[in-house]
């Protein structure tokens, strides 16, 4: 479903270039629960940004579903992001002014869906993450674990092909982190949702069906 072939990414920092990804080839199949594990600075987030179409690789090819990404048209990229990909971030990244339910509905606004349907679907997904009691709370009024559930509902609401989660438990205590992992596992098992979890915690990685190790910009295992 996602196919990365020999992906390179380097950044210019002043006069020097930093090679962050040095030839990554990776396939993610439908229904997978995959973890990408590696030490800090190994390029995990950079890889996720490329997989999530937030960044353009310096070299290599990337195919999402049937579409080979060409990075020349903002509309196409935005639309692919909107329909194919759901992001979950370490810092939750909810919009502070919006209520939980409005945060969940955000991706649908950019699809031009009408208000009533957005409300229905947001309610459906907020139930799925067991947060219906907190629908009208602002993010500030929620605990970290609760915010992360809202963020997961937001990632799911548009029925994307894949969920990309960058250290989703990184800001949570072990117990709450485990709850989030349980939620991912349930979604993967019961609904067949494809999930990629980025982590540097071996215990988290161990709970995934497949594990990819990243070290210094290359896949080592």
């Amino acid at each position: 479903m996602l196919r990365l072939t020999d992906i390179h990414k380097s950044y210019r920092v002043g006069p020097t270039t930093v090679d962050v990804l040095k030839g990554i080839s990776l396939m993610v199949e439908q229904g997978e629960l995959l973890s990408i594990i590696g030490p800090s600075g190994s390029g995990k987030s950079t890889l996720m940004n490329i997989m999530g179409l937030l960044e353009q690789p310096s070299a290599g090819t990337y195919t999402v579903g049937e579409t080979k990404i060409t990075y020349d048209d903002d509309r196409t990229l935005s639309s692919l992001r909107n329909r194919m990909i759901g992001f979950v971030f370490q810092q939750y990244h909810l919009l502070p002014r919006l209520t939980a339910i409005d945060n969940v509905g955000l991706p649908l606004i950019y699809r031009g869906i009408d208000e009533k349907e957005i409300a229905e679907r947001s309610t459906e997904y907020i139930k799925k993450v067991e947060m219906q009691e907190r629908s009208h709370h602002k993010p500030m009024e929620l605990s970290g674990g609760q915010q992360q559930r809202i963020a997961i509902a937001r990632a799911l609401v548009g029925s994307p092909a894949i969920i990309l989660a960058d250290e989703p438990t990184g800001a949570l205590d072990t117990h709450t982190g485990q709850e989030i992992m349980n939620l991912f596992k349930r979604l993967n098992e019961e609904e067949g949702i494809t999930i990629v979890v980025i982590t540097h915690d071996p215990k988290i990685a161990a709970q995934c069906k497949r594990k990819v190790e990243l070290r210094d910009g290359i896949i080592t295992g």
């Binding site: 992001f87 990244h93 606004i109 950019y110 208000e115 937001r154």
Partner: protein, 392 residues
Amino acid sequence: MIIKANIKEALKSLITAKQRTILALIGIVIGIGSVIGMVSIGTIVQNEALKQFRDMGIDIVSVTKDYEDQGGDKGFSIDDIYSLPDYSPLIKKVAPYIISSTQYSYMGQDLYIELMGVDESFFDLNKLYVREGRLLSDLDRDRFFCVIGAETADMLRRVGIRKLIGGQFLFGDRIYTVVGILKDLPEGGGMRPSGINRSAITHISTALRAFTTNDITTFMARVNTQDSKTVKDVIENYFNKKARGLRVRVRTAEELITQMQKQMQLFTLLLGAIGSIALIVGGIGVMNVMLISVTERRKEIGIRRALGAQRNDIETQFIIESVTLCFVGGIIGIIMGIVISYVFAHFSKWEFLISQSAIVLGFGVATAVGVFFGYYPARSASRLDPATALRE
């Protein structure tokens, strides 16, 4: 749909950043307020000036001896003027007059007064009415009677003279008995000779004998046609024949109105331009606030982009926010402008009117300012790299 959500979002974010929003609003309110105020005042002034023409009718012309004429400094002959209506059916009525400025001295104080000589039809043509006493008629021929203007009456009362009607005054070097006081006239505009408020008016036959200058250089006439070209030709030909070489200048109400309207347009434009400067300053304030808003919300922009917002969506969002800001400022500004022009009209004792085109203009300008000054911040927001924005 996206637009509606955007407006809601815009209002929320503007309310969240209260202080900044209020600062930007003040700029826009002052800008739009001055444009609307200035344009409204222009309209009120224009309306007032035109009203004086409406009062007097636009069938009045004023004929002056052309001073560039070489034919000596002889004025019109009064008989020539009076036989003009017989010469052409286009001329219905004529009213010759002469003016001589003078001082009236009373117990060491000097009052400046326009001494005028007119005939009965002058009062009719100029729509002059008395407040007290009576007007002059042609029966007052050769008699030293006068009516005085409202301001003259006030000045005389101020220096302590109580008895005006029936009182005797030394104007110039003759003594006149006051028989009436005229109603106050609005200042300027129209075809009326200026200074009637500050005048003492006697019959023209008296004036021709008593005044130091007795050249008739001007007369007014009521005409029968709207065709100012024909009227001009008729009058010019008449005097060319009657008094060899006497050249005249004919000014019609129509000409004056056109000329005045041009001046008024210029005046309104000037006032509008002054207001526009305030508006530009306000617009720059909006741009500033929007730029800060974009900087503060880099992360929000990154999140929205990650969720599938196109550059266009981000651009639209910020432009709508800036337009919303300007629109709210516009509404308050329009109200402020109307209040300003109301106060202006109230203190000038002029008729207040709300110029609808000014309101439409106000909303139009507010929107335009919002789009114009919101464009750059919105564009820079849409160009933000989402990955960088999210990393912060």
